[in-house]
C-alpha cells in the first residue's frame, strides 16, 4: 500500500519478451520465458511465485548478474533511458549501485566479512560520486540514521558479524540507498529475518520509498507481504507471468487457477474458527528443460482441458491493465467457488 498508482508517468523500467535460458547437461532450461512488465517511478511492483518459477533469474537478468551459462534475450529492456541489452559491462557497472540498487536475501553473505560497514558503504559513494573520503563518511552516517540505526559513527567501525540479522539488513538497505537509486530490486529481503523484524524492515522500505521516491521491485514467495506492499504485481509460474494486475484486483478477484490455488493455501486468521484443512495444489512444478508446450500449470490444474496442452496460451486482458494467461474466459474463471478443489 505505497504511493498511488502513477499511471501517467512513463515507466522507469520496461521489460518486453524477456527470456533467460540456461544450458544444463540435459538441454536448454527456460528459466524465464518471454515475460513483459513495466514499473513506474515510485511504484512497488511485486513478483511472486514459488521456488523455481524464475523470479530470482528475472532479478539477476535486470541487474545483468546472470551466471555465465545463462543467455539473456528480450525484444525490449529499457531502464531509465538505457538499453540494458546493449550496455557495455563497464556502463552497466556504473549503473549498478548508483541508479539501480539491489537488496539480497541474506545480508550475511552479501556483505563482505573482512571490511567494516563504513568501508563498504563509503566505497559505493567514492566510486559513483567521485567524492572525498570525508564526504562519503558523512553520507554513510546520514544513511545509517535514515534506516534507524542508533550511534551510526560506532556502527561504521564495526564488521558485519558484529550486527544482528535485522541490523545487517538495515545496513544493506542504507548501502543500497547511498546514491539514491531510481529503482531498487529487493529479492526476498526479509526471508532470513524474524517475523517482527520482517514487519519493521518492510515498514522501513515503505518509509524510505516515500522519502526518496524510488521504485521497488519486490521479489518474494510470501503472499502476505505482496498483499500489504504491492501497487502492482505479477504471479510467476514455470518461467511465465500467469497473472498480473493491481494488488487489489489480483487478491480479490484472482482469475488464474494457480493464483486461486496459492491463495487457498494460506492459513487464514479471521477471528473465527480456523480452517480444518488447508487448500493445496497437488503435483509438482514441471521440468523447464526443453520445449514446453501449452500451459505449464496444466498437469496440476483442476480445470485442465484439451486446449491447455497445445500451443501458446494467449494472455487475456482485463480492465486496469490486469491480465492472466489461461484458456478459460473471465466469467467462468471467477465463477469458481473459493472452497472448491480442496481435497
Amino acid at each position: 500500500m505505497a504511493a498511488p498508482d502513477n499511471i501517467d508517468a512513463p515507466p522507469i523500467l520496461t521489460v518486453e519478451g524477456m527470456s533467460v535460458d540456461l544450458k544444463v547437461p540435459s538441454g536448454m532450461l527456460h528459466a524465464v520465458n518471454k515475460i513483459d512488465f513495466s514499473v513506474r517511478p515510485g511504484q512497488t511492483f511485486c513478483i511472486v511465485g514459488e521456488s523455481g518459477c524464475g523470479k530470482t533469474m528475472t532479478s539477476l537478468a535486470l541487474m545483468r548478474l546472470l551466471p555465465r551459462s545463462a543467455k539473456l534475450s528480450a525484444t525490449r529492456l529499457n531502464f531509465d533511458g538505457h538499453d540494458l541489452l546493449s550496455l557495455s559491462d563497464h556502463a552497466m557497472a556504473e549503473l549498478r549501485g548508483d541508479r539501480l540498487g539491489m537488496i539480497f536475501q541474506d545480508p550475511m553473505t552479501s556483505l563482505n566479512p573482512v571490511y567494516t560497514i563504513g568501508n563498504q558503504m563509503e566505497e559505493v559513494y567514492l566510486r559513483h560520486r567521485k567524492s572525498g573520503r570525508r564526504e562519503a563518511r558523512e553520507r554513510a552516517e546520514f544513511m545509517l540514521q535514515r534506516v534507524g540505526i542508533m550511534s551510526p559513527a560506532l556502527r561504521l567501525k564495526q564488521f558485519p558479524h558484529q550486527l544482528s540479522g535485522g541490523l545487517r539488513q538495515r545496513v544493506m538497505i542504507a548501502m543500497t540507498l547511498m546514491c539514491e537509486p531510481r529503482l531498487v530490486i529487493a529479492d526476498e529481503p526479509t526471508t532470513a529475518l524474524d517475523v517482527t523484524v520482517q514487519v519493521q524492515i518492510l515498514q522501513l522500505l515503505t518509509k524510505l520509498q516515500e522519502e526518496f521516491g524510488m521504485a521497488i521491485i519486490l521479489i518474494t514467495h510470501n503472499l502476505g507481504i505482496v498483499a500489504r506492499m504491492a501497487d502492482r504485481l505479477a504471479v510467476m509460474y514455470a518461467g511465465k507471468i500467469v497473472e498480473t494486475g493491481s494488488a487489489l484486483d489480483v487478491f480479490t478477484q484472482p482469475h488464474h487457477p494457480y493464483t486461486q490455488g496459492l491463495l487457498r493455501c494460506m492459513p487464514t486468521h479471521d477471528h473465527g474458527a480456523p480452517a480444518t484443512r488447508l487448500g493445496s495444489i497437488p503435483g509438482i512444478v514441471p521440468s523447464l528443460v526443453g520445449d514446453i508446450r501449452g500451459c505449464g500449470f496444466a498437469n496440476r490444474c483442476d480445470y485442465v482441458r484439451d486446449a491447455c496442452r497445445t500451443g501458446d496460451i494467449a494472455l487475456r486482458e482485463l480492465p486496469d491493465g490486469a491480465a492472466y494467461r489461461c484458456v478459460i474466459p473471465p466469467d467462468e474463471a471467477l465463477a469458481r467457488p473459493a472452497e472448491l478443489a480442496t481435497p
Binding site: 517482527t196 519493521q200 498483499a227 480456523p274 487448500g279 509438482i284
Partner: protein, 334 residues
C-alpha cells in the same frame, strides 16, 4: 505391520505425554584458560505439560530457545536443571533406544536431514533395522505401506533424496519418523523450507497422521499463522522463557503478553486492503549474554512500565493458561 490406530491407553491413566518442570539449559560462551566466559541461558525455568494426542505449538524468534528445548526432549542434550518426563518417566532414566521408540524428530531442512547416498527405502527402514524388528521382507512391506500413508508412490522406494522434491523429501522424513510408531513427534519448523502450496500439503498430512496414529506433536515454528491451523495449545517463548501459554484460540484471539501480541500482529494475511501493521516495538535487541534486568522483553515492549525494568514478572496461572508479565499480576481476575 497393521495400520490400525494404536490402542489408546485407558483414559483413567491421564499421565501427560510430556511434562516439563523447571527446565533450564545454559551454555558457557567464550570460555578460555584465563576466564570462565559468560553464561548464556538458552532455556530458563520452563514448565509445560502436553496431553496425549495434543498438539503443542512453540513459537518464538530465533534465539528464543525453541530448538534447545526440542533437543532436550529428544534426549540429544542434557538439561542443566529441571526435568522432562515422557509418559511419566524421567527422561534421564529412559534408555536411548527406548526413548527413540517414543519420541521422533522431523527436522526443518529435508535437504540436509536425509542421507544423500541411501535410497528412500533404506532411509525409511533404518529405524526398523536399528530396533531389529521384522525380517527383510516384512520391513520392505512396512516401508511400502508407510510410503502410501504419507502420500509417496511406492515406486520411489529405490530413488535417492536428490531425485525428490522438497515436499516429497519432507514426506520421507515423516515416514521415517513414524516407522517405529512413536507416540510423540517433535517437528522443528517442518515446513519453513517449503513453498506455500507444498507447506499446505504437509500440514494437512501431519493433521491426518495425528488422527490416524493418535500422535502427540510438539510443533516448533516462528509462524503463528500455521499454529492456528495445527495446534491445540501454544507456548510463546522469548529469550529462553515461556512468557505465555494458552489454547491456540486464546493466543490467536486474545493474546495477553505484549510479545504474543506483537507476534500475532506480524502475521501478514493476504489482504490488499490492509497496510503493514504498526507493532510499536522498540528496536533494541537484547544481548542474550547480558540479558536486560527485570522482564527481558521490556526494552522492546510498547507497554513497558517502571517496574518492568526493575523486577522480573512472576508467573500468573489461571483458567486461560500462563502468562509472565507485570500487566497480569498474580491473583488479578484477568
Amino acid at each position: 505391520m497393521n495400520m490400525q490406530p494404536k490402542t489408546q491407553q485407558s483414559p483413567a491413566t491421564q499421565t501427560p505425554a510430556v511434562e516439563i518442570a523447571n527446565l533450564s539449559r545454559s551454555f558457557q560462551v567464550g570460555a578460555s584458560l584465563m576466564s570462565k566466559g559468560k553464561t548464556l541461558r538458552a532455556v530458563e525455568d520452563v514448565n509445560l505439560s502436553v496431553k496425549r494426542g495434543e498438539v503443542l505449538g512453540i513459537v518464538g524468534e530465533s534465539g528464543s530457545g525453541k530448538t534447545t528445548l526440542s533437543r532436550m526432549m529428544l534426549g540429544l542434550m542434557k538439561p542443566s536443571g529441571g526435568s522432562i518426563r515422557i509418559d511419566g518417566q524421567n527422561i534421564t532414566t529412559i534408555g536411548r533406544s527406548e526413548l527413540s521408540r517414543k519420541v521422533q524428530p522431523v527436522f526443518q531442512d529435508p535437504y540436509s536431514s536425509l542421507n544423500p547416498r541411501k535410497t528412500i527405502g533404506q532411509i525409511i527402514s533404518l529405524p526398523l533395522e536399528t530396533h531389529g524388528s521384522g525380517s527383510r521382507e516384512e520391513r520392505t512391506k512396512a516401508v511400502e505401506e508407510m510410503m502410501l500413508q504419507v502420500g509417496l508412490a511406492p515406486r520411489l522406494i529405490h530413488s535417492y533424496p536428490s531425485q525428490l522434491s522438497g515436499g516429497q523429501r519432507q514426506r520421507v522424513a515423516i515416514a521415517r519418523a513414524l516407522m517405529i510408531r512413536p507416540e510423540i513427534l517433535i517437528c522443528d519448523e517442518p515446513t519453513s523450507a517449503l513453498d506455500v502450496s507444498v507447506q499446505a500439503q504437509i500440514l494437512n498430512l501431519l493433521k491426518d497422521l495425528r488422527e490416524k496414529f493418535n500422535l502427540t506433536y510438539i510443533f516448533i515454528t516462528h509462524d503463528l499463522g500455521i499454529l492456528e491451523f495445527i495446534a491445540d495449545r501454544v507456548a510463546v517463548m522469548y529469550m529462553g522463557r515461556v512468557v505465555e501459554s494458552a489454547t491456540a484460540w486464546n493466543v490467536m484471539n486474545a493474546p495477553r503478553h505484549p510479545y504474543a501480541e506483537a507476534l500475532l500482529g506480524s502475521v501478514l494475511t493476504p489482504d490488499p486492503k490492509l497496510g503493514l501493521p504498526d507493532l510499536h516495538l522498540g528496536r533494541g535487541f537484547p544481548d542474550p549474554l547480558n540479558p536486560p534486568t527485570g522482564c527481558s522483553f521490556h526494552p522492546r515492549c510498547p507497554k513497558a512500565m517502571p517496574q518492568c525494568s526493575a523486577n522480573a514478572p512472576r508467573t500468573t496461572r489461571d483458567e486461560h493458561g500462563l502468562v509472565e508479565c507485570h500487566l497480569y499480576p498474580e491473583g488479578a481476575s484477568k
